[in-house]
């Protein structure tokens, strides 16, 4: 506590919101939030895929022209990729110990995840507006 005697900030003030990763529980919370969201989204997605096994193009387009289906598909893609990149981040942090390799992998996974999510969103929007 000696070092703390020189600051007016209380130990609680210093510790609040700061875990070892320096960003508190945000990562943990976003993983849980996305996993809760993915329960209904996954159920919807599985039913949707089963309903469109071997479907023709026109049938699929008609499905994605429904506002509800389009919104659910966009949510499924975005939340899935958000969940995937935060999960892969933890896996990388656990098993890759060379700092530059760890950083390169995490940055690569995040960039790729959000790029793929954007591609999914654009695809659904394109189908929905009939462009």
């Amino acid at each position: 506590m000696a070092s703390n005697s020189k600051t007016l900030r209380s130990p609680l003030q210093v510790a609040r919101g700061l875990g070892s990763a320096k960003h508190g529980t945000e990562h943990w919370w976003s993983q849980r939030l996305t996993s809760i969201a993915l329960v209904p989204l996954t159920v919807w997605f599985v039913f949707g895929v089963i309903g469109h096994l071997g479907a023709g193009h026109a049938e699929f387009i008609a499905w994605m022209r429904s506002p509800f289906s389009a919104v659910m598909m966009i949510l499924t893609a975005v939340v899935t990729f958000h969940h995937a990149q935060s999960g892969l981040q933890v896996v990388i942090e656990d098993y890759v110990h060379a700092e530059w390799q760890k950083m390169a992998l995490i940055i690569g996974v995040k960039f790729l995840s959000f790029a793929l999510a954007a591609a999914c969103v654009l695809a659904v929007v394109k189908i929905f507006i009939g462009a």
Binding site: L38, V46, I50, L53, G54, A55, A84, G87, L88
Partner: protein
Amino acid sequence: MANGSGRPLSPHLQVYKLPLTAVMSITHRITGVGLTVGTLLLVWWLVAAAAGPEAFARAQGFIGSFFGLLLMFGWSAALYYHLCNGIRHLVWDAGKAIELPDAERNNKVVLGATAVLTVLTWIVGLAVW
């Protein structure tokens, strides 16, 4: 010696028989990584549909091929496992069912639910197809 010191290492993880709870824990991770790879097929499916009928037919053709169906079977089982075991993680996060007897019972619940949901999905899927 692996630690370079010439001194014996203490017994490591691989000399122990992993209990089912531990196997299921690492399986959650493995299925998570596998499902992330599977998202590439989702991207292909959606982008192909947006690109036009020919691209979509190619994607549907791949999914309906033997290799495609094999991948889909693996991903459906992985998805149900990760979903069921993920719900179990949320229950743990709520501070419930942490004791060993509960954990051992819920091993079976998760494995049973995964098997039943996977088989049901494929029965319905192949009937609809």
